[in-house]
Symmetry: C2
Subunit: 206 residues, 2 copies
Amino acid sequence: MRHPKTRRGQQTQAAIVSAAAELMYERGVRATSVGDVLARAGAGKGQLYHYFATKDDLIAAVLEHQLEQVLQQLAAFRLDTWAGIRAWFDALLEGQRTRAYRGCPVGSLSSEMAAASAELASRVAAAFQRWEDALTESLQRMRDSKVLASSARPRALARTTLAAIQGGYLVSAATRDLEPMRSALEMAYDHLRVHRSGAADERVPA
Amino acid sequence: MRHPKTRRGQQTQAAIVSAAAELMYERGVRATSVGDVLARAGAGKGQLYHYFATKDDLIAAVLEHQLEQVLQQLAAFRLDTWAGIRAWFDALLEGQRTRAYRGCPVGSLSSEMAAASAELASRVAAAFQRWEDALTESLQRMRDSKVLASSARPRALARTTLAAIQGGYLVSAATRDLEPMRSALEMAYDHLRVHRSGAADERVPA
């Protein structure tokens, strides 16, 4: 991706990425043609190829765009408190409902992208890594502030939470039902709560 | 899908579905052309359109084929015991490793298929429903034989387990790493164990 110097150029590029993101989310990556993207963005072919060398380059920009949305949403919640995690999970559920059960904007790209080429597969891996890193940092803060027990392993918990979110999204999208996602997030929450500070004492009261 | 009457016809049809399943698993649904399928199956276009009215018809047969493999594997384990569940989870992990982290043969089709058409989306929903049903039956047997507590809800547990499996597969495929899948299955196992018979007594020993 080439970075535009003018404000107008930035707007055009953003419109192209945003149109591509919408279409790829609705139809899939390969089912979205460059022509479809141009029509929705109201841009010309020359503009698109000025900013993106290839369709793969555009796909990579779409992944980046969707990941940014996800990370921004994550940063909007106080994920170092139990109430913050609950609120974030509720927002994920609400998002899935309002998007007509289409699944995770990042996760739904992943299987098609990873199958397409080694380059796109490594982009997908890096995106999940960044997501896991962001979650790990939050959980580290929870451990530092003694909300989580000192024995809790933030990275392992982040990884498992991410898997629960993705599984919830996938089965919810496949069945067009919010319930699998709700129960997967419930499981993830319970799994985190096992590692709450003082949990061991609570389990065997004196 | 039209059912062949002769043995030779059945073999040709099976070869076409199996070739299509391999290719769609490796490359994605839409990235697989009818020509690619014929080349791998060693069949002619006339044979294919004799058995499958459209490409969507072939895609639906591929989903069916992959689901059958999954359900056959599931049936091979004694899922009404804890050791059986462990062994099944281990086999899922081993399968993901040997297939070079490509994800669930059913789950990886789901997002592309659901986006493609309402007809294919309903096929995906039905496939997940059958998987959930099979798992629910096993967990009901576990409850009947008092391995699970009488308060355990087999369908809710099946749904959550399925989401954990799918999430583990998806993040494992995205990161080309077995660890997220291992930890997702660990979480699912722990979640089931919460509902084991006598778990409440164990938590607060007399």
